[in-house]
Symmetry: C2
Subunit: 240 residues, 2 copies
Amino acid sequence: MQIDLASPLAWEVTRSSKPRQSQTELIPSIAQGGKRALHVVSRKGAPIEFSRNAGIYWEGDPVGQLYKVISGAVRTCKALADGRRQIGAFYLPGEIFGLETQADHLLSAEAVVDSQVLVVKSQSSHFEHWDLQEASETWELMRREFRRTSDRVLLLGKTARERVANFLLEMAERTGSSEQVELPMSRKDIADYLGLSLETASRTLTQLEREAAIAIPGSKRIVLRKRAALRRLAEVGPLN
Amino acid sequence: MQIDLASPLAWEVTRSSKPRQSQTELIPSIAQGGKRALHVVSRKGAPIEFSRNAGIYWEGDPVGQLYKVISGAVRTCKALADGRRQIGAFYLPGEIFGLETQADHLLSAEAVVDSQVLVVKSQSSHFEHWDLQEASETWELMRREFRRTSDRVLLLGKTARERVANFLLEMAERTGSSEQVELPMSRKDIADYLGLSLETASRTLTQLEREAAIAIPGSKRIVLRKRAALRRLAEVGPLN
DNA sequence: CGCTGGATTGAGTCCGGTCAAGCCTTGTGG
DNA sequence: CCACAAGGCTTGACCGGACTCAATCCAGCG
């Protein structure tokens, strides 16, 4: 299978000229809504640069390629009618995103910070076209996505403290950092991911800091002081 | 690929002798915890009968077969350490369950009401063993599961009213019933599925009835009076 | 040094959870 | 066939955690 260069998938490399919206204003997905040009430069092997908050693809676009984060971070999200935003997932360097279960993207993908993204391969919705290698990889990817989504369902049943603890541990694990976690995303991103309000997310973090479970040297830098305590908090887990 | 009859998967056909627990007592997954005998009768083609609340497989069991609901209804669920229960999904006649992404079941499966279940096929975790037909079907199945789980994440970001409206519409759609929905599951099941308390689930239904959006001729029978209103409620949905 | 956007903090409100009481349905046994 | 008991459902009162509104605070940058 080869990459379909005639694919209708397109994006705009929104360089600089940040939309500069306030914290409470419209979110990127809405603000940049229709404006996407046709700068398709998806040659395999050449990472593409996206500046902070730039869209990579948009919900409703036909599903095209799979992407790998080289540097930075990517979020997938969906704008809701009432102005709120739901974040599907964060993707860190080395992780692959863009896999979906139907013809059109259900979620948009946006750069959380300035990021480099690589087009990995195109995805065909038709199974018969796959070779074993490809199928196996895609299957693995699907499993991982499914797993994470399932965990998320559990997470959303918990309290704010538990969600935040969970989030911190997950990020720590995924970045491989033993002690200190570097969070690329804003409080609002975190809140939308965890299904909390911005204020609650922030409050909860400071609360955890007061309890000495974590330290916050800089607003995007978290030190996990009492990993065990956090883990206990996070794991409302299974009975036995 | 053939069915592995030596598989360690087992279940108990809990006929009659209902555990009869009160609404607030322990839930089946916990109550019937360890007691599962080895009555493996998984001959393909012969539906197996499970009485209300009987377990079909248990979380922690090695993943074995895929099952198809012939009659009745099945729920997958997970007991949490704090005594609460998380319901993963409901499966109605014609639907297939049992697919998971790892070696051991993350969720238990239980009959919601007296049900007939058919063993469809065994699942191998190793991709290479699949033939095209099998792979294609399993892929479709996985897509569907993933899709539903994703929708669920969205749902859990909404209010009680929205969740309930969503649930009713989903059930109506899945049963194909145009007007009247027959809900096989109890209020507690619904509540655990939607991440609400039993009381809130019940209250919300009566509230919707007062507003004439639905009617409740019997506690398990719901008539959708104002589908459009429900849909508007449910679909906090995407912007545009 | 002031500006801007993000983060924190506070006060007040409300939705949904908890506790508790009663109702209704179902099934069982006299 | 009726009476009673048990479980499930509904409803009420109250409470608390999370949301909202709003005022600072802080860091980065021109």
